[in-house]
Point group: C3
Chain length 137, copies 3
Amino acid sequence: MKAHTEYLWFNTPHEHDYVNITGEVARIVEASAIREGFVLVSAMHITAGVYVNDAEDGLIQDIEEWLEMLAPFRPDYRHHRTGETNGDAHLKSLLVHHEVIVPITAGRLDLGPWQQVYYAEFDGRRRKRVVVKAIGE
Amino acid sequence: MKAHTEYLWFNTPHEHDYVNITGEVARIVEASAIREGFVLVSAMHITAGVYVNDAEDGLIQDIEEWLEMLAPFRPDYRHHRTGETNGDAHLKSLLVHHEVIVPITAGRLDLGPWQQVYYAEFDGRRRKRVVVKAIGE
Amino acid sequence: MKAHTEYLWFNTPHEHDYVNITGEVARIVEASAIREGFVLVSAMHITAGVYVNDAEDGLIQDIEEWLEMLAPFRPDYRHHRTGETNGDAHLKSLLVHHEVIVPITAGRLDLGPWQQVYYAEFDGRRRKRVVVKAIGE
């Protein structure tokens, strides 16, 4: 069994950003030389998410508004007693989930025609990391 | 390490459908001859989900109503400017998540007594795919 | 490829509880002697979840209130016609998801500085199980 691990760093210009990282993940899988296996793409921070969906700008704005509706910014989260102001970012991260597994088949990401891997930043403008780890053979 | 990959095709009769695929996944794991490992069950479309929960009809209706409440059909999603009308299906897919991993132990799906694997279709009446990939030994 | 499987048992004192199981998962990974791989942490019941987020008491209360808002207890879920009263627990489990994968790198959980693995119980005061399965080499 082979394993290959890389880390992607982000420092997004906005507090919220949606970054298509499919190409980066594909490059890492190619570097792994794994033909059959899984690649895990997992945010290492608790105020960011990783999801698979469409690379369509309108939809990304819909997702942003929807997350704000279901997990709104509010000044009065209990978490803010620690001095933080990002309680909503934790909840948004739980909602979209912080990681995905993509199957690797015949040396390539085995994604459907419209599936793209996104890094979703909910508390940006600082250095944050995603681990990309492939295992297989 | 062994790897075994199959694709399940769906063309559900309704726009929304909840299909218990536990038996299909178990059959694929048996075909893989893997005794210890993981099986990934992952929708290849961005308007469908895969989740693990109960095979109880009342609950499935509860899930359907609950998803409609949290990620409702609306005519005015920005995504619809592309000509699509399925913005809500993308959000429902994000909410239930598009994939699960089931552990394989002693050659069988290592699920709890009530756990069943479901394919959740949110934009049906067309051919769609799920990848089922087992790795292990 | 190595595989190592253990089960964690819970019998929480309250109906809802959030239990930090990071230490237990780390101990199981150490027992596995796996240096590079994945560990799956997956609830075996359909009224509990497993997620990765912060070990901060205020945030945990925020999560509890937020889940109650988005997936409230209600007497009138259809699932309750079976005699159950825990329809909301199923929906909460779907919302936070029932499992996570943590990468294992150089023999250790490859988590970010604030990431902790939590067992989220939504229908406690009874014996319930989580499967922890590591694969790798």
